[in-house]
């Protein structure tokens, strides 16, 4: 009886179009945000379980937030616009390395023209956003083939992006500032005069980024542009005949998606890893992001969070539960089990519930709304 919308009348279209039109949902969200923004830092500050050590923050919450952000980006392209991508790892890399270059100063010697382009090191926030911008530009470039080719063919085009950029960041020393090992270190994380160092500070920084981008993305997908993307996804020919320009719709999806993925990549490198190699953004990362989106729910911003959480937590559970039961598994077995579980789950969800866990949650809410009656 707690979850009822009876009596909540909408008197304006604005109210009807709110993100969470039902009051109980708004309350739940407020509580969740309260815990995330205030509760977690407080608990961590007083070393209260489970935040007594940094493990939970550093090894679970931080990657969860950043990968959820990247998954939102992938979801915009795959879930909302219906354009498959196997190259999201490359776009994270573009974000990371561009941010790194902007953060440490760009110098392009153009000897044959007789001058050089030099940009002094930029502040970290600017660098991260510029990293997103570079990823967006690359996204548009690799999205152009999507105007002529569809679906599966596009998968190969995005694979081309993945392998090409893997190589670029590995073999072109300019991007790593000629570091002999190929591994690079992020600049000190100064945000408007504040130094972000401790795990809780890093967590809050990422939380802010993720919250802001999630709201902006949600606004986009429920607005006119979002409808254009979904129209292209559901039936591109009909979309064109009602005046949607495939060029504009697809390239904006590529740009927005790549921007978000690029920012996530920069955060992954700067805030989570600190120092990194191109391997951090390989095709495995691309597939991992794709899995998050399928498992969490294609075409659902909330699903991106659910999917990211699931993919990160499952391996930890596989490690933890057998150990608690007294039959610890080898790391190899865990990896293989993970593969099998993710793979079968993907197949199962695609068959039974293409909208993933997010849809299961909303079915649950529907049931709750009618409870205790079945219909």
């Amino acid at each position: 009886m707690l979850y009822r919308e009876a009596g909540q009348f909408k008197t304006t279209y604005a109210e009807d179009m709110a993100i969470f039109p039902i009051r109980q949902d708004r309350i739940a969200l407020a509580i969740l945000l309260g815990i995330a923004f205030i509760g977690v830092p407080l608990l961590a500050d007083f070393d209260i379980w489970p935040f007594g050590s940094d493990y939970l923050l550093r090894a679970i919450l931080l990657p969860f937030l950043i990968l959820a952000l990247a998954a939102i980006g992938v979801n915009i392209l795959v879930g909302y616009c219906g354009q498959i991508t196997l190259g999201s790892g490359a776009f994270m890399a573009i974000g990371a390395y561009s941010a790194y270059k902007f953060g440490t100063g760009v110098h392009i010697p153009l000897a044959w023209l007789g001058f050089a382009i030099s940009i002094p090191p930029l502040p970290v926030p600017t660098s991260i956003l510029l990293g997103g911008l570079m990823a967006a530009i690359a996204g548009i470039l690799f999205g152009i083939p999507s105007l002529r080719i569809k679906g599966l063919y596009l998968a190969v085009a995005t694979l081309a992006a993945q392998f090409f950029f893997d190589w670029v960041f590995l073999r072109v020393p300019w991007f790593t500032n000629y570091a002999p090992s190929g591994s690079v270190n992020a600049p000190a994380l100064n945000f408007f005069g504040l130094h972000v160092g401790t795990p809780i500070e890093r967590y809050l920084l990422c939380l802010i980024f993720v919250t802001v981008f999630a709201v902006l993305a949600k606004n986009l997908v429920r607005g006119n542009l979002g409808r254009q993307w979904m129209a292209i996804r559901d039936m591109d020919i009909a979309a064109e005949l009602i005046g949607i320009r495939p060029l504009y719709a697809k390239l904006t999806a590529f740009a927005v998606s790549s921007f978000i993925i690029g920012v996530a990549g920069a955060l992954w490198a700067f805030v989570y890893l600190g120092s990194w190699e191109p391997l951090a953004f390989s095709i495995d990362r691309s597939l991992q992001l794709l899995f998050m989106v399928i498992i969490g729910g294609l075409g659902s911003i909330m699903g991106s969070f659910v999917g990211a959480a699931f993919i990160l937590i499952l391996p930890i559970m596989l490690n933890l539960i057998p150990t608690q039961l007294g039959v610890p598994l080898s790391t190899e077995t865990i990896t293989h089990l993970e593969f099998i579980i993710f793979g079968s789950l993907i197949c199962y969800l695609l068959i039974k519930e293409p909208h993933g866990f997010a849809r299961l949650i909303s079915i649950g809410k529907e049931k709750l709304r009618l409870w205790p009656f079945p219909y």
Binding site: G82, I84, P145, R148, I149, G151, L152, Y153, A155, V156, A157, L159, A160, F163, F164, D166, W167, L170, R171, V172, I237, A238, L287, L290, I294, E332, T333, T335, H336, L337, E338, F339, I340, F342, G343, S344, L345, I346, C347, L350, I351, P354
Partner: protein
């Protein structure tokens, strides 16, 4: 100055390794033609077939079977594994997803890839297992014409011969057998084929089985060359650009595409890679495919796509 002999040697080496790509690409084409499924799992199937073969071989030899018996039994065992896999995929993944969009089917094969990779390594192990089915020494040709002659790997020649036999038997299968004809009917329009009484699930099982056997053949050649190991799945990904270049529905396209990619990337690596840092084999095939997509989306041998509403 680059010697002609060197160019020829690189070209031949490239063409021969292109044959290996073609072997994997053939499996893709089979499935795509018959069911419209773009099978990301073909590489994983090569890994599974290879592991099943090499591990059963090791076991049989250790038990004291003669090499020939062991090879025959091992291949039989691997083929049986591929048959079971084909049945499982048809029964639990592709069957329930019939009439779904191409994108959904594609993503489901990514799921299948992970299951196969996980299961194969869990059951058969995840090390590098050497496989010696074919000779791996080299011939030196035309020593009188070029200084040092031209180096040709016998294994590559074996691979080419096997690919030739495979294509010929596939052609016979498609053209001359009842199942082959039914298969082509299903490929054209599976609803219409069903309505004239062709059992579609049986046909799809046959197709996945055929793709599994092609994967097994590919695994014998690749395994001999590189050892059976996980990284085979990445090499198998190169079959994707091969398909794009050749055309998704064309068996000759898979062969020609493989040759173009194989020769192209070797030549590019030797004559271009040295100038820009090396390792361009890593992406050359994909970028070439991207270029082909922009100019001729249906590939060199593919059928032109007409859209209707």
């Amino acid at each position: 100055m680059i010697a002609l002999g060197q160019v020829l040697e690189v070209l031949i080496g490239g063409l021969m390794s292109g044959v290996l790509y073609s072997l994997v690409a053939l499996g893709f084409v089979l499935i795509f033609k018959a069911s419209g499924v773009f099978n990301f799992a073909q590489g994983a199937m090569v890994l599974l077939a290879g592991l099943a073969l090499v591990r059963s071989l090791d076991l049989l030899v250790a038990r004291g079977f003669s090499p020939w018996t062991a090879v025959i039994l091992g291949i039989g065992f691997a083929a049986a594994i591929m048959a079971i896999t084909a049945w499982l995929i048809q029964r639990f993944v592709v069957g329930p997803l019939v009439n779904q969009g191409a994108l959904t089917l594609f993503m489901s094969t990514i799921g299948v890839t992970f299951v196969l990779e996980g299961a194969a390594q869990m059951i058969f192990g995840s090390d590098v297992y050497p496989l010696r089915l074919f000779p791996t020494d080299v011939w030196l040709l035309f020593e009188s014409h070029f200084p040092g002659g031209i180096l040709v790997n016998k294994l590559d020649v074996w691979g080419a011969v096997i690919a030739g036999i495979l294509v010929a038997s596939l052609a016979i299968f498609f053209q001359q057998t009842k199942t082959g004809r039914a298969l082509r009917a299903v490929a054209d329009d599976h609803l219409a084929a069903q309505s004239v009484g062709i059992p579609i699930s049986w046909i799809w099982f046959v197709v996945w089985l055929a793709a599994g056997l092609v994967a097994l053949v590919a695994a014998t050649v690749w395994g001999t060359k590189l050892g059976v190991q996980f990284s085979i799945t990445f090499l198998a990904l190169k079959a994707l650009p091969v398909l794009i270049i050749g055309g998704l529905t064309s068996v000759p396209g898979a062969i020609v595409g493989g040759l173009i990619v194989g020769a192209g990337e070797k030549i590019a690596e030797v004559f271009l890679g040295s100038h820009i840092g090396g390792g361009i084999e890593y992406w050359f095939a994909y970028v070439l495919a991207l270029a082909v997509l922009l100019v001729r989306p249906q590939g060199l041998f593919g059928e032109r796509i007409i859209e209707r509403i």
